[in-house]
């Protein structure tokens, strides 16, 4: 399987990443991409920029572990995860998850799964820069709940 995991400061080209994943692979019938973008405002307040901090080393390892878990759950032919860090301005992409499979359900499910985990388990922290100053983004209970839905009952028990 084609797997790409990259953390970088620079902007990326989502289309080129997805194309690289499927190039010359005749078995691929479905490609799903998720692109997370920096919005121009948060709670009605204009955003100047986002600053993304990460834990180098652990971030790559956590993402790789979840990509392996996705591969174990669904018959994937390709997975690409690109996550930026540093300063990101409105309209720019923050994260790309792209998945390829023979059929659409695996590609959709794996992309949603990886995004739910990136939101809650990958060691990244967002700070919003507004005209009034900087403030750390608070984790959302809704994101925890979304990640939790992927825990099968036996695994959830084992984790307790």
């Amino acid at each position: 399987m084609a797997t790409t995991i990259r953390l970088q400061r620079e902007a990326f080209d989502a289309a080129a990443e997805a194309a690289r994943m499927t190039h010359g692979r005749g078995e691929v019938g479905a490609v799903v991409t998720f692109t997370g973008l920096c919005r121009g405002e948060e709670n009605g307040e204009p955003i100047v920029a986002l600053m993304l901090e990460h834990y180098p080393g652990m971030a790559e390892a956590e993402i790789a572990r979840h990509v392996e878990e996705a591969r174990a759950r669904w018959p994937l032919l390709g997975v690409t995860v690109v996550h930026r860090f540093g300063r990101i301005v409105p309209g720019e992409a923050i994260v790309l998850v792209a998945t390829a499979s023979r059929h659409r359900h695996a590609a959709f499910a794996a992309a949603a799964f990886l995004m739910d985990y990136l939101k809650t388990r990958a060691p990244f922290w967002k700070q919003v820069e507004t005209a009034a100053g900087e403030v750390w983004v608070e984790a959302k209970a809704a994101d925890d709940a979304a990640a939790e839905r992927w825990s099968a009952p036996p695994r959830r028990e084992a984790a307790k």
């Binding site: 997370g36 993304l52 901090e53 990460h54 834990y55 080393g57 652990m58 971030a59 390892a61 956590e62 996550h83 923050i94 994260v95 995004m115 990136l118 939101k119 809650t120 388990r121 990958a122 060691p123 990244f124 922290w125 967002k126 700070q127 750390w136 983004v137 608070e138 984790a139």
Partner: protein, 83 residues
């Protein structure tokens, strides 16, 4: 052992990393946070609500009751907000 701090934990402590050598009685992540909180007001501020702080030992998520013995690198940070 090496400690790393991220996001507002880093800002409150006032540094990104440091080497520490806690006494033998400090056996778990929770005890390490309590010990750190007594090191000065910046630490007291950073760890004033240890329940909201997450930890990793050698780059793997752990819970507050995890033993720290043998750890080379321990990180403290707020809940993650990536993606």
């Amino acid at each position: 052992m090496k400690l790393l701090y991220f996001a507002w934990v880093r800002e409150r402590v006032g540094k990104a990393e440091e080497q520490i050598d806690p006494p033998a009685g400090v056996a778990t992540i929770a005890e390490l946070m309590a010990w750190l909180a007594r090191r000065g007001e910046e630490y007291a501020y950073a760890f004033e609500n240890p329940k909201v702080i997450r930890a990793a030992i050698d780059r793997g998520h752990v819970r507050a009751d995890a033993p720290i013995r043998g750890a080379r690198e321990i990180a403290f940070f707020p809940p993650m907000t990536g993606g």
